[in-house]
Symmetry: C2
Subunit: 589 residues, 2 copies
Amino acid sequence: MYRSHTCGELRASHINDKITLSGWVQKVRDKGFVVWIDLRDRYGITQLIFDQDRSSKELLERARSLGREFVVQVKGTVLERASKNPNIPTGEVELLVSELIVLNESLLPPFTIEDQTDGGDDIRMKYRYLDIRRNPVRNNLMFRHKVAMEVRNYLSNQGFIEVETPYLIKSTPEGARDFVVPSRMNAGQFYALPQSPQTFKQLLMVGGMDKYFQIVKCFRDEDLRADRQPEFTQIDCEMAFVEQENVLNVFEGLIKHLLKEIHQAKMDTFPRITYDEALQRYGNDKPDIRFGMEFCPLAPQGGSKYGFPVFDDAELVVGINVKGSANYTRKQIDELVNWVKRPQIGASGLIWIKYNTDGTVSSSVNKFFDEEGLRHLSTQMKAKPGDLMLIMAGNIDKTRTQLSALRMELATRLGLRKNNEFAPLWVVDFPLLELDGETGRYHAMHHPFTSPKPGQLELLETDPGAVKANAYDLVLNGNEIGGGSIRIHDRKTQETMFRHLGFTPEEAKDQFGFLMNAFEYGAPPHGGIAFGLDRLVAILGGQETIRDFIAFPKNNSGRDVMIDAPSYIDPAQLAELHLKLNKNEDKSS
Amino acid sequence: MYRSHTCGELRASHINDKITLSGWVQKVRDKGFVVWIDLRDRYGITQLIFDQDRSSKELLERARSLGREFVVQVKGTVLERASKNPNIPTGEVELLVSELIVLNESLLPPFTIEDQTDGGDDIRMKYRYLDIRRNPVRNNLMFRHKVAMEVRNYLSNQGFIEVETPYLIKSTPEGARDFVVPSRMNAGQFYALPQSPQTFKQLLMVGGMDKYFQIVKCFRDEDLRADRQPEFTQIDCEMAFVEQENVLNVFEGLIKHLLKEIHQAKMDTFPRITYDEALQRYGNDKPDIRFGMEFCPLAPQGGSKYGFPVFDDAELVVGINVKGSANYTRKQIDELVNWVKRPQIGASGLIWIKYNTDGTVSSSVNKFFDEEGLRHLSTQMKAKPGDLMLIMAGNIDKTRTQLSALRMELATRLGLRKNNEFAPLWVVDFPLLELDGETGRYHAMHHPFTSPKPGQLELLETDPGAVKANAYDLVLNGNEIGGGSIRIHDRKTQETMFRHLGFTPEEAKDQFGFLMNAFEYGAPPHGGIAFGLDRLVAILGGQETIRDFIAFPKNNSGRDVMIDAPSYIDPAQLAELHLKLNKNEDKSS
């Protein structure tokens, strides 16, 4: 038996007990006559003591020689500590060691195994098994487990059945790029790894499963932006005989359950805003509403002209009121102006108006606006003495995107985006289609299985861009954490949809014939939602990046640097799969 | 709102309530003046009634015209039934329909959606979404969900953390064939899909996760035998600082928990037998111990010779006692003899002795044995009047395999393998290596990470086949449902192991260098187990085949016939992956 207790377990009540611990050497403190060792495992840290009065010389010597991260087993007696440590649960006691066995030695770790490590990202990824020993990473993984368990408990209690859908499915050109898997038994053919179990969950609804969920890995072979992974985890859900309202209620319940179980937070009904309103008020469709600073569309006095060409020539003039920031110095404001002009944002400029605490108004456009003009703008932005107003103008979409970025940046700088505050909302009434500016073709904004709003099917023929969908996103703290829709459940509508997305009838049949066939055998109305678990867990954990909530993440080139994958494979293996590498790229032989 | 209640919910207490149901038309019974419809959903069946007194003519007409599997919504009033149906929970009431909306029509299904269907396997697979509507299939999937939830609850309560390990990993030639995934971003390189998360779970132990589990898909590209799937689900578990005894206790607890929660079965401590003993007593390493019929190795009287060449020339003479079957007719016995001679079994013959109820003894070897000789054999097999003894002789391994098959066949015929009886046992002390007769090379019996028994490392050099491992299987009703081992946790032993498996040091480093490196940074002793969820669920569900516990299984050629996967992909997609099809097999262009 390697241990009678864990390193997080001993309390004053154990004093005088003979016990056995196993764990890692966190720290050795050698004071000559006495050696203290912090012994660590997943559950905590226990202080070991060896001293010249009570320990043999040989034992003291061996304790002294232990290196960081050595794995040891110790037996001994629990004692009351002379100087207690109130910061750790085991701080009242220490273990006087009578027997020490080294279970395994350790080379010096390439970075320190402590909460604040000296290891950079690359080295941490290469030695991920050491990184996981650090409390912050391990706690994140344990937190993820807790969230997943709570999701399963909630959904299971609501009558949802977790059904495993296949990983080896069929490749379709729709959407993002598939990862494919060559078939050995079916020469020249390929499986694809699922980008989501979308069609399978719909088939489960056709199959009468009524309420389905699955926590499931999904795959997308896309060029990786920061904080994206080629494999990611989804909480995938679908319900039959539901309208949008039913879906929203059930999954609002899920998020409330998580916030309650994990943060003891009691939430009111989540706000709902339309996609159009989200763009107007926040400049994007996943607004962070932990703070205000809403967009104020501006209009000239009397409805005529501003007399300021930048405004008069713009599609949109819109401002935000940064409350209490009129004390920004000229230098600080210049820095903001430069910030929005950076290529990542790409604004041509930023106009500011200060409503000073002394009641005066100053601005960067004094040349074009007299005091009355500035006060007119200030009134529209509901500014009060002490407020700083920032205004942008130009093309609607670009201006919204740029001002939205500025709004988020300011909120971050002002500490308004608090990690321990949670502000969920539903964004509803998404457009069904979006126009690809380059190709002039319409894409499904959500996916091709999303149902148009009732009565809008005809509008598809005349004004496809105006058709709204029964589609919704759940947004939390400025992140889209879930999205879903009511689905099409009849063959004719689905065929119409595919036609508008540019599929020939043959293509539609070849790729999604099985789904359209299924719709002919009594498909019920149905709808669902999917949540990105990696992101959800990170946000619930109060962190920005998903990588440390994933045990073994890949880097931005899609590589696992720890195991060194992907890698070349044996030419014989390739031949069995009926494949050859393209000559100029064949580096394996 | 599509429904106020489900089709399984209405009781006498609902009488006179106005309610709304949605579901599928299971059956229409048209008696002219009255039409009854069974409306079905996942939760049950509710009887709808339309009659000429209380329903409009038009409504009656529309009810009459509904086809099987039409999806309808109905509103109406709950009435007490004139003739109650005690066989279904809703049998006391029926719904007098006032409003009928057809939500979707249905073509005539290709097979009947009933518990006993007329659909063959192929058509059921092609229309799996209809097959899932049938109670037996849907109940299996719901049962699987329940088992998985109970597994998670038990392990989570025991302090295990579910950690997701990656699906895009590195291909290794060890073990079964990998499915591989070409990388677009890393030209000419491939990921592999995991055959199991073995190395990752060991790295999690190195990482101090202490107790890990995961319910996870695994993949093997092997020629499919009946009831094998290219993708299958594993309950994968690992623990640090454990010996075999700790692992066995925890997972015996898991199986007990499942049997208690699912079958209200209270189990005693599971028996444990060694691998060698299992072969001696049952002829295989996954014995079904729901019944006896144990192997009796036979010896000649006085230790000399039988005087029967078949026995005297054999490595092994072994019999089973089929209790109470001395009344088998000559024809029945001939049939058994033919059964063991079939190519699938391949025995050269079968010797029988009857201990008749009148006390006489008869046999197929009267020529070679006198009555005393037969009685001597009978005594060794502890036969009593009325028993039938069956004996086989020859090469040890073959004879055991053949007699084991006969033992199982007889038990099946005699009804001794009861679906609702559960007889688990541990088989322990597996050999570390097994000799491949063809290549003369040793293979790891479990996998290359399994630890030899303490003190047997030296034996590896002198008699590799004799080395026993800290490896164990959990066997339930004649099926291996789980297997595991205590692992190697130091680099030197792991290197020794790879050398004995025929790896060069370079190969070992190239494929498993990351693991051996990890062992140098304080790897704790660890061990674990993995269960095949598909099989476990099928056995707990009292069924023989796994296919109907998988929502969307593949056929024996690894095809999903419903979605028609695998399939050809676009040549452009292939080019992006830096691949070409082998010319003579290129059918896609």
